[in-house]
Amino acid sequence: MHAALFDFSDYDRLIPLVANSLYAGALLALIGGLVGVFVMNRELSFAVHGISELSFAGAAIFLLIGLDVVVGSVVGSLAAAGILAFLGERAKDRNSFVAVLMPFGLGIGILALALYPGRAANKFGLLTGQIVSVDDPKLAAMAVIALIVVGVMLVIWRPLSFASLDPEVASARGVRVRALGIVFVLLLGLAVAAAVQVVGALLVLALLVTPAASALRLSNSQLWVPVLSVTFAFISMVGGILLALGGGLPISPYVTTISFLIYLIARVISWAKTKGVRA
């Protein structure tokens, strides 16, 4: 059991095999960490989960019919994100829609996987993540996604912050609040599609929510929260891949565990800080 979880005997030989996954992990950490800063405030945590299930369905269908899995994943993601974006800002409408969509996407995805004649390991990778699945074209696709997401985030960061803080005042000052919300949900869809490739659809939240939540426990700075969020996502992703390598298990339990531990530590630190202030 222990050996199955942590076995580092052939480590130096294994690392080159997962080099692509490590690069992909780093890219994911960057986009997940940045996008995550706005996910909680905009009440999109649940939507992330819904998007990831549809992203999974898209990937599984494309796998079945012999098309590119990343493209399928992006198509599924953007379809879900697009519908969510046009449903508008009201979390209540959105949540019921996501709750309806999620099992449907998951069901379609599982159906497609069940019909797929290939190896079983490839199948569950889309749900639970896998480390050796990132070939060069996939990495290139993820790099393109990362470039788009980070590029657009840098451009819209300030008005998106304003719109997230106070949509009424932002709109009065000339921010196109609704358009920005749509752009952000589409970026979120792209980020989810990229994340599904490595951590799997079920655990995307560990990358898109937990690091930012941890960062917000520790800082209120417009600079440090995104920096910490990306750093935490990076530690979780790259650390998770390196640990998974030792055991030959899916990477997601490692990624989610590290991510969760960081969150616990952040909570303890913020609790100790507020206690220190009061004492």
Partner: protein
Amino acid sequence: MGSVLKVANASLAFGEQAIWSDLNFEVQPGEFIAIIGANGSGKSMLLKSILGQQALTSGSIELLGKKAGFGSRKIGYIPQHRILGTDLPLRVIDAVRFGLDGHKFGLPIPSKSMKSQAMRALEAVDAEHLADKPVGQLSGGEMQRVRVAQAVISKPSLVLADEPLSALDLHHQGVVSELIHAQASEQKAAVLFVTHDVNPIIDYVDRVLYLAQGNYSIGTPDEVLRSEVLSKLYGSEIDVVRNQGRVVVLGTHDHNHHQDEEWS
């Protein structure tokens, strides 16, 4: 000097339902106007039209001689209090700075001049001690104080305040009203102040715009807040009672609002 705002024959209707029609008034620089009326009388819609967020059915609104459009830099806006900014890495000073450049694309890169302008705006509303506080941790009174700073930092010609006192206790209603008045008069900005209750601002009000049943009446408080004027507006018996400087409007079924009603 021309008027700040000119509303000419402005009408707003949703389908068959007229909200208000043939609204005509002008606002002079530095004027403080209270907008009063029942729920659904279109008070907030009037502000939205001035902000270019709600198209008129007919008529026109001119701001400083030009057609009022979306995102005017000449307007400062203060909405009613709502809890904001939980789960966002924003401090008070960042929020105030948004009043200057929040609409611009890019990153909020620190800038000395922006910071000192934001600090001065906070000092003007006695809120410099809040500068580094997370926005999500402000009380209602603090939040509205900060919003006054945010609204006037860009030196607007017109301040639109949409129920800025709702959900505040009496003490803070007084403080925030006084701040809005003081800041606006210092910058010679006109104020349109939407409120259910004219009393917290009665000392500052130059004119009252009263909206009811699609009709309106505008004039000094003494001209408008009278039983016969309001009875005519509502088309039913209204009593205006004045007692020790306070004005109470009876019989409208909307004089007695609870604070939590205002959230819808």
